[in-house]
Structures are given as structure tokens and as C-alpha cells.
Amino acid sequence: MAKRIEASNVTSYYGSFKAIDSISMTVEPKSITALIGPSGCGKSTFLRSINRMHEVLPGARIEGRLTIDDQNIYDADVDVTAVRRMIGMVFQRPNPFPTMSIYENVVAGLKLNGVKKKSHLDDAAEASLRSANLWEEVKDRLGRPGAGLSGGQQQRLCIARTIAVEPQVVLMDEPCSALDPISTLAIEDLMFKLKDRFTIIIVTHNMQQAARVSDKTGFFSIDKTGDPGRLIEYDDTQKIFSNPTQKKTEDYITGRFG
């Protein structure tokens, strides 16, 4: 299921602005990788370039290679929708479809993929909601609007929606930044559970969170505003937080910078 991701010299532009500069990193299957760094350092840009979501913004383009199990997702003959089905994404703010019920939200991806049989959809919805630790809370009100849930529940609903299509990689772009501490813990628990099945990459501003959940951590930084973001250091989380090799990393995690 879960796949290895390899980025080599990924450089991304928005128009003439260079957002990130030759990022290279390898993410092992069934692991959690955290990307940390100050605001505007290109973490999210890099994350979005992994499932080609950055292309949604006008003027965005990319150089370099990004392979998933040795297939370059930026090859000319690659179907971008297939890439995104393979690499799911959870966003910063919970974004359930406002016009759909909880159930419809979860199965939205399946329906897009042509699954029509009610029993399949029901089974998949229950399985995904269970995996997202949300089933017990919503099983009696699956027909109610998804927007009526609390923020934390909405975010778990979005995770359920993402894993319902069985991606191989799940990208999370600061999934807890809009949530309270209890909901945050619930999501972190969930990440541990999902690690068995998915490769997870999470962008976070919260260093404690990175230290708690991730196996490996990448530290991004910029020299000054307007410069492209660079990957400063990428290593085991334990090493990054206890004994970083780079001065910049140390400054950042000890709070002397950023």
C-alpha cells in the first residue's frame, strides 16, 4: 500500500517568484515525516507539490523530479487526477463540502470514482469513519450536514474523506492549527493509527507536535523574505530535536529564531 516518495532537486515557482529551491528528500513508506520551519519558508509549497496541488494556483510551475515508487509524477504523460487519488491531502482548515451530509462527504471521493453500489458505499463510509475515530460520534446522524460538526470533528471527517479513496500517501498541511488542544490530540492519535497503512507527511508549526508524532523531521528555512525556501536539515526526529548538525536548526528548535 504505502509508497516511498523521493524528491530530487525540486524547485518551485509562482510566476517569477521562486518559492522553494532544490529540495531533495526521501520519505520511507509507513512513516510519519514532519516538515517544520518558520512561516513562508516553503513547507506548504513543497507539500502541495507532492500531489501536484500547487498547480491549482495560477502561474505555478516546478522543476526537478518527484517520484513515487520510481514513477515521476511530473512526467508529461501522467494523469494528475490519478496522482491525487494516490496521494491524498488534508488541509489546514477543515473543509467539508458545505452542501453535503456527513455521509455524502465521506463517500464523495468514492462516488467520483464511479462506485455506485449502496452497500459498498455504506461499508466504506463506516470503515473510513472508524479509521478516523469519528464513527462513534456521528453514526446516528450521518445524514446531517458536515458543516454542523465541531472543528475537530470536521477535520476528522476530512481525514475520513481522504482515506476513503485509499490513497497510499496522506499529506497533512497544518491539520491542527485551527483546532483546540483536545481535538489536536485526537488527530495525533489518529495519525499513529494511520501510520500502519499510509505514508504520512505533515507540515506543522508546532514543534512539540513534530517531536511527538514524527519518525523523521525536515527543517525548512529562508535566509530573508523573498528568498526561496531551502531544506536545511532532514534526519530522524530524535536527532533533530536532541542533536541537530546545523546551527540554524538548533536556533530554531531552541526558540532563538523564527
Binding site: 496541488m53 495560477p58 487526477t81 491525487r84 467539508p96 452542501t99 453535503m100 467520483l112 476530512c158 481522504t162
Partner: protein, 356 residues
Amino acid sequence: MGDNPSGSTNAPAGGPGVTGRHARAAGNGVSPSSYDEPPIGGGGALPKKARFSMETGFRGLSTSAGAMVLVIIVAIAIFLIAKAVPALRANTVNFFSYEQWFPNDAQPKFGIAAIAFGTVLSSVIALIVAVPIALGIALFLSHYAPKRLANPLGFSIDLLAAVPSVVFGLWGRDVFAQPVQDFSIWLNKYFSWIPLFGGDGPFGRSIMLGSLVLAIMVLPIIISLSREVFQQTPTANEEAALALGATKWEMIRTAVLPYGKPGVIAAVMLGLGRALGETIALAMTLGTVFNISFNLIQTGGNSIAANIANTFGEANDTGRGALIASGLVLFAITLVVNMAARAIIYRRREFRDAAA
């Protein structure tokens, strides 16, 4: 932009902007011009609230201006009824079921059946033609066209919405009538077995011509309103759909269309309101025949508004009353349509505020 309020915006900060005529109003701590007056900040006992002041006067003035809208709506109904009733009394046939229009005869005979039917038929056909095309263009402008193309194109469409209907009527009659006639003859030749396209002619100034001109006229309105709602779709929802691996069209179907649905319905209703009330363009393109027929291509068709414009000139007292009575019916129809449209918009607004 000459007297842009640069001076006035300073006023609350106590700037020099408003010290001109009323030094007292400036409130910026200047001493009063005469030392006999008490200081602006007051002193001694607090002044009593005046029973009548500029404040209550201004409030009353603006409230009555607001109430004026209600007064006008009510007055429209009252005056139309007042002038319609004598004519309706004089009418010797059933106003609602009679199809012909002879209000100027000694024995006035008139009914709105045919013209009300024509009004609704031409508007409905116009919408059937215009709505899919308008939605396609709105989606093109909001989601397909590059910004460099979408902005000027959207601007031109807004401008077209401002073109007076008499111009569309003139165009429909002088230019568009010919191709529509050719098309009608062709339709009649091969599809006369469909009742809509039957008949022996003549073809030309038909319901089809009027409806198509109407369609072209309501197009800009529906486009610009639906474009606006499509553009308001939260990016987060569009990205959510794309991140699930949706194609562009699937993204539009899952995120954009459901979100925009109430807005689109309201836009269509407003377009319908406009089409129902359209006068001059139909007066110039319809064949003014008083009958109830679904035949679209034979010369004919009429509408309440067009009938008013066409027959007003030779109307006598009863004739005017009859036209006013038909206008009253039109007023009622458009009022219902508009109120429904507004109710939809209001509910949507509440829904959105609640979600935010």
C-alpha cells in the same frame, strides 16, 4: 472624485477639516469664539435631552424616505386597481378567460387569457434557451478562462446588461428576423409533424423571434449574477475536491454547482422577472395575434406588456382601464416571481452567515 472626503475623514480625529462654518461642531477643543458662551465640553448640570432636535428631525426624514418604498408599492397597487375597476365593470366578457382585446368598442370585450399565455410562454422559452448557455459562460468566466480573458469579457457582459431593450428590439426586428424566418421555414419543412413547428405560414414575427431576443437580453443578467456566485465558491472546497482526484468537471459538480445552486436559482428568477416585464423588445418583434397557441414559428404571439405598448395609442377611457387591468396582472405575476427570488437569496444569505 473632487470632493472626496479627505477632509471629512479627519473630522473625528479633530482635524481642521470641519472648523469652517461651525466651529462648535468640530469638537476639537478650540475655545468658543465668544467668552460669554460656556465651553463646548459643557460645565455645570448636564443638559436635558431636547424633545425635538435636529436628531429626531433627521431620523424622521430618513425613516419616511425608507417608508416611501412601501408607500409606492402600495400606491401602485391602489391606483392600478382604482383605474382598472371601472373598465372591468364595463367589460362584457370574462376578463380571465377571454382571448381577444376589443376594449374600445361600445360593448367592451377584452380578456388577458391570450396575452398572459404569450407572456409566460415567451419568457419560459427564453429562459430554456438562455439558462444553459448563461451557466456555461458563467462557468467559463469563473473557472475556465484565463484571468486576462475573463476580466475584460466579464466587463463587456456587464456592459451588455446595460444596453436598453429598445436597441435589442430594433436589432431583433431589422436584423435577426431574417435568419429566424429562414430557420422557421426550414423547421416547418422538415419538422411540421411536431405541433410546435407546424402551420402554413407566414413565418417570421413569431414567438420564436420574440423569445430568442428575450433570451439574448436576459443572458447578460443571468451570466453576471451566476458568475458572481460561482466565484464565491470557497477555494478550500474546490481544493478538497481536486485533492480527492476529481477532474475539473467533477470538481465543478461536487464543489461549485451545489454551492452556487441557490444563487443560480435566484439569478434565473430575476431573469424571469425581467423577461416577463419586458415591453419594447417584444412589442417590436412579436406578431401581435390574440390567440393561445403553442405554435412557435408562425407569425403571432403577444404579451401583456407588448400589448400595452402597441394598443395604448388608440385606447379610449375604457381601453386605458383595460390596459391598466392587464398591467395589474403583470404586476402581480412579477411581484410573486421577484418575492420568491428574494426569499431564496435571503435564505441563502442566512445559511452562509450561519456556516461562517
